[in-house]
């Protein structure tokens, strides 16, 4: 009896492992095909602009709001923490470095995942279950090139821009709290930033944002593109796309930070 249960358990673990390996293989093949398609004509600029508008422009408000409050809370918490050690003058660099190196790219990536990534998955998923992707294929229009490529390209392009915007607004939010509310001098706040933020920090943040742009659009389009089993399938694909993208952003953030420190 126990032997039978052990065999079943091993079989179950084995089948899960095989499925995981298969899924990873499919995901990387999908990514490879998308990256190759970047360089293959036709280049549909209108599609790309539409996606830049959808992923970028329409995420501006939520990014600005998140950045403002992230910067504000960072300054508020940071001020009282640093005050315990008499180091309030370091508040500017603390806020700026936290935002530029970590919070900017990570929170931008997570916000884009929630706002645009989920919509990408749902849109492609619905197109799949309503046979619109099959229709493209029958028309002789490669669906991957037509639907996925512009979305991934747009993600790679807009995430760094959104991150830069997040950085600027976040630091400004910190300034509002530190200078306007807590009475720090603007010279101290910005002087510290100027002397402590280096190009390397900005580059690290931008490398992260490009990577997160790729992760969000890759995972979300993959999950949508291979959706199955009707409306329930779309719901499942959307949830798993958001969860997987968010987790991968945080995991990837750790590894990039380790390498770039």
């Amino acid at each position: 009896m126990e032997d039978g249960m052990s065999v079943d358990l091993i079989r179950h673990v084995g089948s899960l492992t095989l499925e995981l390996v298969r899924e990873l293989g499919r995901m990387f093949l999908f990514l490879w095909e998308v990256l190759l398609s970047f360089f293959m004509p036709p280049f549909r600029w209108t599609n790309l602009l539409k996606q830049i508008h959808f992923i970028g422009i329409r995420s501006l408000f939520v990014i600005a709001l998140t950045a403002l409050f992230a910067g504000m809370v960072l300054a508020l918490q940071g001020y009282y923490t640093l005050a315990r050690f008499g180091s309030e003058a370091l508040l500017g660099p603390a806020v700026a470095l936290s935002i530029i190196r970590e919070l900017g790219p990570v929170l931008s990536g997570l916000m884009v995942t929630g706002r645009a990534g989920s919509a990408l998955t749902a849109e492609l998923g619905i197109m799949r279950i309503r046979e619109q992707i099959d229709a493209l294929e029958v028309m002789g229009i490669p669906p991957l090139k037509y639907l996925v490529t512009p979305r991934v390209e747009a993600g790679l392009f807009v995430l760094p821009l959104l991150t830069v915007m997040f950085d600027v607004i976040g630091i400004w939010g910190g300034y509002l709290i530190a200078v306007r509310l807590l009475g720090m001098s603007a010279g101290t706040f910005f002087g510290g930033i100027e002397s402590s933020v280096e190009m390397h920090d900005i580059v690290t943040g931008l490398i992260k944002s490009v990577s997160f742009g790729l992760i969000v659009t890759w995972i979300c389009t993959y999950k949508g593109y291979f959706t199955r089993r009707g409306a329930e399938g779309v719901s499942h694909a959307t949830t798993s796309a958001v969860v997987l993208s968010s987790v991968l952003i945080l995991v990837c953030d750790y590894f990039i930070t380790s390498v770039m420190l």
Binding site: D134, E137, V138, G140
Partner: protein, 345 residues
């Protein structure tokens, strides 16, 4: 009047059918309109809005506009001609089918959906594929356009094996097909006009003016003029099917595949869609494959019938011979009887 269109039948499976004439000639030959009326309609049609010879197939609409024939009489005349051809149709073995499935096996979710299927689709004819739900009809259609690959066997289009084609060659072959999906598969973000224009914008270098002309011609053919600014979610089921049919027709395909074009429609719209398919066939002589559950109604609207049951071909032959089959499964299916070899309850 334009010269008769070349016979699409010269190498195919018909005996006793009259050579194919242009739409106008058919109407005159059947006594639906006079030669004089046709000439007048053609003159007006060509003069109006600078329409070209290419638009001659719209002469039927001009005849209706000029009051020489009513829309329903026009469709009925075309149907009568179609019925004569259908009743004269015979399968000839030496004829080269346009699509062939040879020993095709497909297993989906551990179920043998297609079990060594052999079938041939005759060129320039309307073929209906019938069978129980879940019997593999749509799977067959997807094999014909290469959306699915057989686990065993092969699919040939004009003698070319699909599985051996490169991606570019497959795309070229697909350019000869149009597929009307069961749900229409119209793009939600585009209105009817842009949906129909989509394949032309993506696959041709036509100017926007030319695209607009062709789109409007197709919408006129399916009686959807005035609906071009509507989005798919604003259309009824019948309109959706007609818009999808217009998109399928706009590229002038050689082979038109229709996946349950009348599913979920009321009897009047169902009849209208059948007339529309007949009208399209009579004007274009495309090879058509229709999947349908409208049995035995569909036998009126096709030359050839293929019946599937449990992944195998049960019957393949002229539509006027289906009723003579002694196969108990086929007889039960055609008559919709509860008692018989197919256990449903």
């Amino acid at each position: 009047m334009s010269p008769p269109a070349p016979s699409a039948d010269s190498t195919h499976s018909t005996s006793g059918a009259t050579p194919h004439l242009s739409l106008g000639q058919q109407l005159v030959a059947n006594g639906c309109v006079t030669a004089r009326q046709l000439d007048l309609a053609l003159q007006r049609h060509r003069a109006g809005a600078g329409k070209s010879q290419e638009d001659e197939h719209l002469v039927g609409h001009t005849l209706v506009e000029m009051g020489y024939i009513s829309q329903s009489n026009l469709l009925d005349c075309l149907y009568q001609q179609f019925a004569r051809e259908r009743d004269a149709y015979q399968v000839v073995n030496d004829n080269q089918p346009v699509i062939q499935l040879e020993g095709v096996v497909k297993i989906l979710d551990d179920r043998r959906v297609l079990d060594a299927v052999d079938l041939a689709i005759p060129a320039n004819r309307v073929t209906a594929i019938i069978g129980m739900s879940g019997g593999g009809k749509s799977v067959i259609l997807k094999h014909m356009v290469g959306l699915m690959k057989p686990d065993q066997g092969r699919v040939k289009v004009n003698g070319q094996i699909l599985g051996q084609l490169s991606a570019r060659e497959l795309t070229r072959i697909r350019g000869r097909f149009s597929l009307l999906f069961q749900g229409g598969a119209l793009f939600d973000s585009l209105n009817v006009h842009d949906n129909v224009a989509f394949p032309l914008r993506e696959k041709t270098r036509l100017s926007e003016t030319e695209i607009h002309t062709r789109v409007m011609r197709c919408l006129e053919e399916v009686n959807l003029v005035g609906m071009e600014r509507k989005f798919p979610d604003e259309l009824s089921g019948g309109m959706m099917k007609r818009a999808a049919l217009a998109r399928a027709l706009v590229t002038n395909p050689e082979i038109l595949l229709l996946d349950e074009p009348t599913a979920g429609l009321d009897p009047i719209i169902e009849n209208a869609i059948h007339y529309l398919i007949c009208d399209t066939y009579m004007r274009t002589r495309y090879t058509m494959v229709v999947i349908s559950h409208a049995v035995p109604e569909i036998f009126k609207w096709c030359h050839h019938v293929i019946a599937l049951h449990r992944g195998k071909v049960l019957f393949s032959g002229p539509s006027h011979e289906v009723g003579q089959s002694r196969d108990p499964v086929l007889r039960q299916f055609i008559h919709g009887e509860l008692d018989g070899p197919i256990q449903v309850i």
